[in-house]
Assembly symmetry: C2
């Protein structure tokens, strides 16, 4: 049976997995989760993932959640986008944790608040606070990528497909690609890879804000 | 040479590593990082960790950052607090990612804003927003621990030493242990383990707010 990725177009965390699947030439199909109409809060979905989040990846008897775990599983299974040594694998994991905590963790909720929540429901003060923290994260990534082609080692890895998770989306959340030349060049290298596709071309449904 | 954990008492992310080290009976020593006086922003520290964060773990030629990576390294090296199968190891990693993203990631900054930042500098609206998200996370952990002794499998693992990272601290950030009976019982099981110690007993310096 073809492996299934439970996802929706707007989810950058799901995009990390979809991009990892397509770049490793894996066989997979997306299963649309209607997040904006409460699908992740249903008992059926909670049975699949008690954390109530996409992405969820089902490959035969294996059901996984958390994008970092799914990415690691796909990389191990295909032998692609991984590290070449224990030290490289730890370095990859380090950047995926950093991304989850300091980049995607903040970018995802900032983009949600700015684009997918009615203006009157946006909690005051949160967006500028998170954008301030994000600016520090962009700077760390920019510094790291200056003089480097990829985040770890000399080729693309799941550290790259993690850190870019929210950066290709069209909805504004404060990230201006042209402000960060090393990030910009890295994103161009990534999007030049065979099989790369933008989030809304890889996963079902149009942006929630145009609904 | 004895392994060194760069840390400070207030850091729950460092505590996860310190607790993992002590519960695995590892040889280690803490190296105090004077975070509240800017030590993580110095060029010397940035050379050690360009992400500008504690914990950093130095074991011979290996220098690691990100608590999840350090915990995984210690567990692998000692053969303790790990999973017994590939599936258990993935499940452990899943909970560590979840913690970093949805529990510690929010608890750490909420506690910082509420206790270590002067009231006039606290960004309006952020604390209640984050506490609302945290309540959803406590509920997920409470549900998971109901009927279970440990987060993964039938013994303590680094998933437990990750998720508890901020929960034993005395400073208020909205977590009330008695509100969550399954979390409370799990915390008692953890603190009953041989070698367990509270954060300020494992890492140097008194709380910043009493300075």
């Amino acid at each position: 049976m073809t492996a299934q990725l439970y996802c929706f177009g707007e989810s950058g965390n799901a995009y990390k997995c979809a991009l990892t699947l397509t770049l490793t030439k894996s066989e997979w199909e997306p299963v649309y989760v209607d997040f904006f109409n409460g699908a992740t809060r249903t008992p059926e979905f909670r049975e699949l993932n008690p954390m109530g989040e996409v992405p969820v990846f089902v490959d035969g008897d294996t059901t996984l959640s958390q994008s970092g775990v799914i990415q690691d599983y796909i990389s191990s299974k295909t032998g692609k986008l991984g590290g070449r040594s224990a030290a490289e694998r730890r370095e990859i994991l380090r950047w995926i944790f950093w991304d989850n905590h300091k980049l995607s963790g903040l970018a995802g909720s900032t983009r949600f608040l700015m684009n997918f929540l009615p203006e009157e429901k946006r909690p005051a003060g949160v967006i500028p606070y998170q954008q301030g923290r994000l600016a520090a994260s962009y700077k760390i990534l920019e510094t790291h990528l200056t003089g480097r082609s990829w985040i770890v080692g000399d080729g693309p890895t799941i550290a790259d497909t993690a850190c870019c998770g929210y950066l290709y989306y069209p909805e504004p959340f404060g990230f201006v690609r042209s402000d960060w030349p090393a990030i910009d060049a890295w994103m161009s290298r990534l999007s030049g890879l065979d099989g790369w596709a933008a989030p809304y071309d890889l996963m079902p449904n149009a942006p929630a804000d145009s609904a």
